[in-house]
Amino acid sequence: MFSKILIANRGEIALRIIRSAKELGLKTVAVYSESDRTSLHAMLADEKFCIGPAKAQDSYLNVPNLLSVAEITKADALHPGYGFLAENARFAEICETSGVAFIGPPPSAIRLMGDKNRARQEMAKAKLPVIPGSDKILEDAAEAKKTALKIGFPVILKAAAGGGGKGMRICRHAAHLEEQFPIAQNEAKNAFGDPSLYLEKYITGAHHIEVQVVGDKHGTIMTFAERECSVQRKYQKVIEETPSPFVDEKLRRKMMKAVEDAARHIGYQSLGTFEFLVDEDKKFYFMEANTRVQVEHPITEMVYGINLVKAQIRAAAGEKLNFPFELLPRGHALECRINAEDPDTFAPSPGRIEFLVLPGGEGIRVDSAAYGGWQIPPHYDSLLAKIIAYAPSRFLAIKKMQTALEMTTIVGIKTNIPLHLAVLANSDFLEGKYDTGFLEAFLARKNGT
């Protein structure tokens, strides 16, 4: 096992990793930007180093400073969290050659999954159903059009290098595609430094369903029941739950088995998530795989009663994974992402938290780096807290979440709690009848457009 872990991240995920490291008996080193001096992750680690000014490019993405901290503190492992350098294969390589274990899969796996087009091809080889589409980078709009006509509209353009919605464009017909192609190229170039695009059939009424996997260096591969992440706005997940009200036991087993086979095919050795679109007929298509811990991992932990980040660290240290009891999910878990943002305009709302009461008690888990008196820096993402509710049934978990959100008191900044409460009270949501189009349609109705 390692002796000291550098956490190359901030916010709730940094705190979450610090906790798991401490539970494993490891020392922790936090890094922070000048605007994160009073952030909780910097206060609660064993050691801490300022690594640059507020701008992430100069601090949390500052590779020389990160590695200097590892060297100075004699940290023997680095946890990248999510975002920032978490899926940067080159960084993982630099860590390994500098003698610092990168807590994630080998750089080759990060590189494979980072190239969305290559990932699709490799996964198709592993017999994972993929969405019909261009099997390679599109040369130009003309080639895109030809492919689209073959597989049928609507199609979606995607950046080969990217994720998170950047460079994505849904095209309804040929003219639309020709118009959007250069725009998407430009967006991809600006966001990822690479204009390469590919396209896929766009599936309407689809569900975003993902399967958590964890592997070790001894060939163990474990998969977990699905997470339903269809409540999205602009490809940003807002509410996640497990199990999915849409997935039945047959589909669940099929997807878990398919992911297990695919992970085994590439010899996967860490925490990871395989994301799928599932259509109305319960056919599932591989979208992409994330080679890191995900924001929504806690709901899986709640229903299984396990700790995925500890498993991730142990696997990186070469331990063989084992859990004290059979991995069977029990009950239902929901996560609401509480963002510091205007619930109507979605504009970020940084500022000082004047007064804070987070929820607690039976069945409630809170992952947050917020505290009363904290000045939220405006430089980073707006995720303020993840509130997770666990109960024996979906109905009870939703009631519990409603109660928790109603009793959460945050003064000084705006949050999207009103939006969450509105969604949780929606009859379609309550009946579990929602797909990836749900939230945008809900918001359009709400705004009367």
């Binding site: 000048e34 901290v69 009363g372």
Partner: protein
């Protein structure tokens, strides 16, 4: 003669309090006395934070010192090699662009230069110790 204290003057003093992060100001000259106290910050920062040594935040220690801060994380060296004499000592006159120290990062020796002419008034870090980004290394005063 009585001192001329008017609104503008008081305003200036208050601004000084803020800039220098002072809590209280008291002045008594002959018959003149002024006292200004700032509100304490409301939320106490937990001990963990305040106990940190060498936090680069509080640059102002009074006076007109110019601070040289570390532009990177690394190990601070006062001399080019263990056998050499230090680049500078307290009291030395330094010129702009003159090398003051080395910060070693990723096996590279980065020479840190002064960005002002003046006299070295203080050296805050011991030879061989790690430094954070933004950690103050030297205090320079404009002239002798």
């Amino acid at each position: 003669m009585t001192p001329k204290i008017d609104y503008e003057e008081i305003n200036k003093i208050i601004r000084l309090l803020e800039d220098r992060n002072l809590a209280e100001f008291e002045l008594e000259i002959e018959d003149f006395k002024i006292k200004i106290r700032k509100n304490p910050p409301v939320i106490a920062v937990p001990p963990a934070a305040s106990a940190t040594p060498g936090l680069g935040g509080d640059f102002e220690t009074g006076g007109d010192f110019h601070m040289i801060a570390s532009p990177m994380v690394g190990t601070f060296y006062r001399a080019p090699s263990p056998a050499s004499p230090p680049f500078v000592e307290v009291g030395d006159i330094v010129k702009k662009k003159q090398v003051l120290c080395i910060v070693e990062a990723m096996k590279l020796m980065n020479e840190i230069e002064s960005d002002a002419d003046g006299v070295v008034r203080d050296i805050f870090v011991e030879n061989g110790k790690p430094v954070e980004y933004g950690q103050r290394l030297f205090a320079i005063s404009p002239s002798a």
